[in-house]
Amino acid sequence: MEKPVFKMSARNLKFHYGSVLALKGISLDIRKNMVTALIGPSGCGKTTFLRCLNRMNDIVEGARVEGEILLDGLNIYAPEVDVVQVRKRVGMVFQKSNPFPKTIFENVAYGLKIDGEYSRSEIADRVEKSLKDSALWDEVSDRLHDSAMQISGGQQQRLCIARALSIKPEVILFDEPCSAIDPIATAKIEDLIQTLKKSYTVVIVTHNMQQAARVSDFTAFMMLGELIEFDATEKVFTNPASKLTEDYITGRFG
């Protein structure tokens, strides 16, 4: 078996929110080109952990991070690191789809225009490519210049994925991407995640255990700010090492 490549690693990560310790020292390796799922009851810190991976928690008032998060071996919390560069390499899709009130095209082009480094034709090409990669192109190619607010919820979420893909990140973080959409739209996004892992490393927070079992290669079970169990998804769901994990995945609490 070939040696696993770790795209990102947390090293004893602690997250303080004011006087509350929301993450109590998480250490976890995220494998390249794999899907890692974070599961656990509400308030367990899975979303907080996810948002540490691209430093979105920097904007939270009263937040303080201890420990390290390594991206290709380099600590993204090191003082010399530019947070903007981190977020370009580690993209994010939010729980509630958040298309901007612009056209479909402008939504996907937004990230490409930030630094003004692409020509108009390059932007057009990459918008098309991103929409194809997010399996949305066929549905919107004839109305790219319509408002993004008019497409369905599931389409909006795939638009947000296209927007994240446009700047070619290396890792994509999904924060409960299907919590607000119907089962058919959910199935589309799950298929999409399977395709995406060929080119990207994926981390997904989900409330839905079946979803974690379906889409992920590795699963981390968290509770009250601690990592209880982290292993191959198959192992976690068929033969969990911890009694807590077993109780949670069999629905005894949650």
């Binding site: 979105m56 904007i59 903007v84 994010m92 939010f94 901007f100 009130p101 937004y110 930030i114 607010m149």
Partner: protein, 283 residues
């Protein structure tokens, strides 16, 4: 008393209060309109007063109010907008920010005559701007600042956090996110507040009384350093200071009608801007 009766009584009192307010507004507007409309003509709007203000029009006052308003907007809008952006997007919650907010709230309660006297000291005397359009415009600008800042902050609040986060997650800097993904959606709301603030300022007399408004001028102002005539001050003179008050009463009503009309136009513009903005946000 039965519960039902109490409820009916309460409802009656509430609707009576609402109707009473409307009634006052209606009576005032009707009075001004019915007594002022007879003097309104193109000549009234486009000519200067003649014969000791007993004849002619009020053009210099309209022009003066218009010019002062421009100074007010040019001064108060950028300053208020930037202050609001700082307070809402950058300032860390804490003692200092609370103090600044408290100061802004209190400023909006300062009587307008105090602004007027402050304007005299600061702009007319200390900054040597003289009694002029500029001094009066800046004074009115100060008066509208608390409204402008508050309105701009409210507008920023209506832009969902998700727009900011979405932009940041794509590698935008904070300022880039604000500039491209927050301000465009906040500006119509800001405009609404600014227009309403301006509508208030345009009708003020006390702040311009000592800072630049003139009783009567034979010429139109040539620059922003000249004195000017203004609608509210002109109205004040015609109704209380004139030697033949009864004779100029129709002109006074006409002036009041023009002033009220101007403010109504500004208010409706604000409503229209807000309406258009809501339509756009719905997609």
């Amino acid at each position: 008393m039965s519960k039902k009766f109490t409820e009916r009584l309460g409802f009656a009192l509430l609707s009576f209060s609402a109707v009473l307010v409307l009634l006052f507004l209606g009576v005032i507007l009707f009075d001004i309109f019915s007594k002022g409309i007879s003097v309104i003509s193109w000549k009234f709007l486009s000519q200067p007063p003649r014969q000791g203000m007993t004849e002619g029009g009020i053009f210099p006052a309209i022009l003066g109010t218009f010019l002062v308003s421009i100074i007010t907007v040019v001064f108060a809008v950028p300053l208020g907008m930037f202050a609001a952006i700082y307070l809402h997007e950058y300032a860390r919650p804490g003692r200092t920010t609370r103090m600044i907010r408290l100061a802004i709230r209190n400023l909006s309660g300062v009587p307008s005559i105090v602004y007027g006297l402050f304007g005299v000291v600061l702009f007319v005397q200390m900054m040597h701007l003289g009694t002029s359009i500029l001094s009066a415009g800046l004074t009115l600008g100060l008066l509208t600042l608390p409204w402008t800042i508050t309105a701009c902050e409210e507008a920023l609040k209506t832009v969902p956090k998700a727009y900011r986060e979405g932009a940041l997650a794509l590698g935008a800097t904070k300022w880039h996110a604000i500039r491209t993904n927050v301000l465009p959606y906040a500006i119509p709301g800001m405009l609404t507040g600014v227009i309403l603030g301006l509508a208030r300022a345009a009708g003020e007399t006390a702040p311009i009384l000592f800072t630049g408004a003139a009783f009567f001028l034979p010429h139109l102002p040539k620059s922003i350093f000249d004195q000017f005539m203004a609608l509210p001050y002109h109205l004040y003179i015609l109704s209380t200071q004139h030697h033949a008050i009864d004779k100029v009463r129709p002109i006074a009503y006409g002036t009041a009608l023009v002033l009220v009309g101007l403010i109504l136009i500004l208010s409706f513009t604000a409503i229209w801007v807000r309406y258009r903005y809501r339509q756009r946000m719905k997609g």
